[in-house]
């Protein structure tokens, strides 16, 4: 285990930068987001959680797949190579670290492998970061995640007053840590770290009982509950874009004059166009149908397909929703409806 004092923090970030591209939390006004940084001064670890989840590290909002030039006779095109250099992502909260595992289910182990996701996952070292406080919107405890959960991280950070303690969790983490030239932590520091991890579960978030939720939600499909739940919903895409486990995408050709690219873009089931078919038919024209889809996909369909809930309780959608729709309350209400049916 190593220790990072505030004076050594810039050297620590510089050492990480020496290992390859580095994603770290960067503050811009009141927003903190994971950004590919070039200078240690950009980094802040003084935040509760980022507005956008770190999923963009592996699954960027816009990804070029093919580049092309439109000619008179023919179209010249080339696939964009997916060579990814080893990179590091610093300061990921335990619930977000778990989200990568949840997303692996669809992008890697679900039968079809997504090469973009997989390559980046293989080449990325994750530095987890323990929570010290709880936001009222969070409910990650419901998924067996605790505030100082090391699972899924290669290295794990714990705040100790002004200092940070960092421990290697995996072999990849060990190799990285030994190459950073940090000072060793004392026996007291190790004790502090271990206690912090052990006491992680004492920091309580809200929780939800998800026993039998997939079937209960299926039974609630036709319930008028959804119209009530969706009354306030304005059908924007904020919840899905800030979500660490929303993974739906669209493929778009974007051309400027004769040059263009085929890009994979985040899409959102909350948008009217999401289900618009080429024929002009749209099976989900109502806001309530779209809200039902988002909640059911996370708490029912995904569980049926991959045996894991597509939510980690990070609280982002609840915090960022312009009209304060709380996914936990909506899911809870729908599950109750399913029990009645």
């Amino acid at each position: 285990m190593k220790k990072i004092t505030p004076e050594k923090f810039p050297a620590f970030v510089s050492a990480l930068l020496g290992k390859g591209p580095l994603w770290a939390p960067v503050a811009d006004g009141e927003t903190v987001n994971f950004t590919l940084i070039s200078d240690p001064v950009q980094v802040t670890l003084d935040f509760y959680n980022t507005t956008l989840s770190p999923k963009g590290v592996f699954f960027p909002q816009s990804e070029e797949i093919i580049r092309y030039t439109l000619g008179k006779e023919r179209i010249e095109s080339e696939a964009v190579p997916t060579d990814v250099k080893p990179q590091v992502v610093l300061g990921v909260r335990p619930c977000d670290v778990r989200s990568f595992e949840v997303m692996d289910a669809i992008f890697e182990s679900g039968g079809i492998t997504d090469p973009y996701w997989k390559k980046r996952r293989e080449n990325t070292a994750i530095i987890g970061f323990a929570f010290d406080t709880v936001d009222p919107a969070d409910f990650y405890n419901a998924f067996g995640i605790h505030a100082a959960d090391e699972r899924g991280s290669d290295l794990f950070l714990v705040k100790q007053g002004p200092d940070f303690l960092i421990k290697a969790i995996t072999k990849k983490g060990e190799e990285l840590l030994s190459a950073l030239g940090l000072d060793d932590a004392s026996a007291d520091d190790e004790k502090y770290y271990n206690e912090k991890i052990a006491r992680g579960p004492e920091l309580k978030t809200r929780t939800i009982n998800l026993e039998g939720a997939p079937d209960k939600l299926t039974r609630a499909f036709d319930s008028p509950y959804w119209q009530k739940a969706a009354m306030a919903c304005i059908s924007c895409g904020t919840c899905t874009f800030v979500c660490p486990t929303c993974h739906c995408f669209d493929i778009n050709d974007e051309t400027l004059f004769r040059k263009g690219a085929r890009r994979r873009l985040w899409d959102a089931c909350m948008f009217t166009n999401f289900t618009l078919e080429a024929s002009g038919h749209n099976p989900r024209t109502k806001v309530s149908q779209r809200l039902r889809q988002r909640v059911s996909h996370k708490f029912s369909y995904y569980v049926k397909n991959f045996e894991v809930t597509s939510c980690v309780g990070c609280g982002r959608c609840t915090r960022s929703c312009p009209v304060n729709i709380d996914i936990l309350s909506v899911a809870e209400g729908a599950i109750k409806e399913g029990e009645k049916q």
Binding site: A232, C236, N252, E254, F271, N273, P322
Partner: protein, 286 residues
Amino acid sequence: MTDAKTIETRLKEEAKKLLESGVVSVVLGYGPGYDEKHPMPFAASTPEEAENLVFNEFCTANMARYIGRYPAGTKLAVAVKGADSRAVIVLIQEGKVKREDLVMLGIPFKGLKDQATGREIDEKTTGATYNPVIYDVLLGDLIREAAPSPYTVLAELQSMGRDERWAFWEKELGKCIRCYACRKACPMCYCDPCFVDQTRPQWADKSPNIQGNLMYHLTRFYHLAGRCVDCGECSRACPVNIPLYLFHKEVARECEEMFKQKAGMDINDKPVMVDFKVEDSNDILE
């Protein structure tokens, strides 16, 4: 000023009366959210549901946004604060709803708070209109104090040179993630489909790149010229805190200067962009 608790009590009473007598079939107001600081837009359609209505300083949502959800002719009661009432006026002017179908429950209020920061909302982010412009029932006493100018906040932007201002907007709009919360929170954004959702032709890149973002936001800004009532909902909805209100205020200021008319202040006005008067300013052509 009448306190929020009293307004809440009166809101419940009025809503119950209106629903019991059948004068309206729905009351648009605020209901409880996951905690007190996060009330939600709420539609009460029975006297029992009216019991759930709430009002406090965090009730920032502009309920005019929801009027268009109901079929034409639906009798609606709408809780309106200052800017919200102006939004309803614009909707009436534009023929989206009829005055006779609405019962406006006016809420004079000063000291709304931003849910995310807990800070008081002032003229820097919204028009800070304390009193509703039109109402059928007043739920509190009118506020005598004059509201400050909504345009003083523009001083910094106006002092910038052209290049500096362009750089400012490029940086701010560069943050956009295209979740479209701004247009969805906006009571005046009701186009179906919105130009940015059209695919033949596709007017703007869907990628959150600078040209796509500029295309979306600049078009939206100008489409709201003379219509934006400065309620501030777009800026509060933005998850990445883009100060959209600054652009809207600048356009509103120019409109007011050129056409001597402020959006949503008089039900008999025509929106400036659909009206023509011989004495209209020619500055718009410059």
